[in-house]
């Protein structure tokens, strides 16, 4: 019978801050876009200003209504979602969410979506005056028909969209990649060459679930994105491959639930990490991950968390 209210990371002597392509984070832990809304829903559990950053739910120019229900299904050690980037549009984000985030003192990464190259740029332009610390350009959502993942699987379109976003802002520009590709290194190199300051990965793996009894897919949209612990091996491998292909820092994600998981991603080459699906299981997962990283560092004589980045021995 214990409750913890609005947890914060515990004190540690470890230097926890990291710099992700110009974005200063007080610790290496942010949240995966779409799993934390704009922070308010989790503020009862976690003081969101103590996170490395809050990454907001994907936002488009005028908002989208997303896909039909059911939108989720549970799968072995994971889940599928086909939310379809439901969002009320960038104006709503600016009016309702960013002021609140700014007021509580959170570091903010705005996750940007679009159905066209123009829409990505328009969203960034709309946010340029707002209190946002970095952009994460989502070219990897498997749940929308136009834009999203289709852009992120071809180096040419990656170059096109990233260079246009780059031209629209001087703020740190993070590009979020899809794992559903033959050669992630090629995509990462294209993003880097077009001006990305950092790369985040992975978005969800495209998957499907079927109810044998009804003979229907469990998701109304048939296919959806797989996330959670089950994808961690794939995510780690992709982060490791990217870390060998590019010089820009990486934000690693995919199934991170504990400090140890986060350390594994950092060893594989990530500078920061995102906690996604784990928030649904444990609403204070972000704080547990931050504290877990600190414990690992303390136990292993690591004075500065950046010593972990790419420190895998192989």
């Amino acid at each position: 019978m214990t409750c913890n209210f609005q947890r914060k990371p515990r004190a540690t002597s470890v230097r926890m801050s990291v710099n992700v392509g110009g974005l200063e984070m007080k610790n290496p832990v942010t949240v995966a876009s779409g799993t934390f809304a704009a922070g308010r829903e989790y503020h009862d559990f976690v003081d969101v200003s103590t996170l490395g950053a809050v990454t907001t739910k994907g936002v488009s120019l005028h908002g989208w209504e997303g896909n039909a229900s059911p939108r989720i299904a549970e799968t072995p050690s994971g889940m599928l979602n086909s939310i379809g980037l439901q969002n009320p549009g960038v104006a709503h984000l600016k009016e309702h969410d960013l002021p609140w985030l700014s007021q509580v003192g959170a570091t903010v990464i705005a996750n940007v979506s679009g159905h066209s190259f123009d829409e990505y740029v328009a969203v960034i332009e709309a946010l340029e005056g707002a209190p946002v610390d970095a952009y994460e350009v989502n070219i990897s959502c498997p749940n929308v028909d136009a834009g999203g993942m289709t852009i992120g699987t071809d180096p040419k379109s990656v170059e096109a969209v990233v260079s246009r976003c780059r031209a629209a802002t001087k703020r740190p520009l993070i590009v979020k990649l899809t794992p559903n590709v033959t050669n992630i290194a090629e995509i990462a190199v294209a993003a880097e060459a077009s001006g990305a300051d950092a790369i985040s990965l992975i978005n969800t793996l495209l998957g499907m679930a079927i109810d044998a009894h009804t003979r229907k897919p469990l998701l109304a949209r048939v296919v959806g994105g797989l996330s959670g612990p089950c994808v961690k091996p794939v995510a780690l491998r992709l982060v490791w491959e990217c870390s060998k292909a590019v010089r820009v820092p990486l934000i690693g994600m995919g199934g991170i639930s504990t400090g140890t998981d986060a350390v594994e991603f950092m060893l594989a080459g990530a500078t920061a990490v995102s906690v996604g699906t784990a928030n649904f299981v444990n609403p204070a997962a972000t704080i547990d991950v931050i504290d877990g990283i600190a414990t690992y560092c303390e136990d292993n004589g690591v004075k500065d968390v950046t010593e972990l980045i790419g420190a895998l021995e192989c």
Binding site: C3, Y42, S69, G228
Partner: protein, 265 residues
Amino acid sequence: MALVNECARVVSNEQLAAKLYLMRVESPEIARSILPGQFVHMKIAGMDDHILRRPFSVYARNAEEGTFDVLYQVVGTGSARMTDMAAGANCEFIGPIGTPWQPPTGTHRALVVGGGVGAAPVFMLCEHLLASDVDLTVVLGAATRDALVCKSRYEALLGHEPRCATDDGTYGRAGFCTSLVEEALEGANAAGQPYDYVAVCGPEPLMRIVARMAADANVHCQVSMERRMACGVGACLSCVVETVDGRRRSCVDGPVFDARKVVWA
């Protein structure tokens, strides 16, 4: 009311009928603050390959003793696993979540309908209505006599039997409880004492029909919408319900919705 994630302890967990169980947990913060119609999001221990929490309505609570009850039906992995939880077992609940039942101010006569395990989420509402001196009619439906597991609690609360229907006719009216609802609405109208509030929880077809009847009778009606949920706190947009105002999250914009706002599938 702020949400908490409370580490709770099972006080008792007994089978009431085929596939129907009652679990009482000690969870003082949630027991203290939960309102009729709100729910909890439960992390069931020991099913590590099933990562999501399971949402359950609160059937009853005892604020002083710091306990609340969940009436649950075994439908899958999680609910099956719950039946193994003995007194003393630990589990985590996020709560209290969602919109409570909100009878219009000045409600005099209310009709409350619970179908299947939907009888549980309306019990605290009935307590509240009686405490407010509302004239209350309760209709319960179930598949069969043995599944009418809430009847005795309602009897004790109301001082008389709730109106019951069973699909197989083994108790009360034979067939769906919608016929009882229709009669109640018509009777009240005929007597010139129409209801001013209908609350219904149960399978979606039941709620749709009752909502239609209430609309026809011009009575304000609320329904409790269940969706598959991931976060349970409004962050993930897994659980949307189609409404005339667009897609709304059943976890925090609901589960209780104005029936006229819902666009039925």
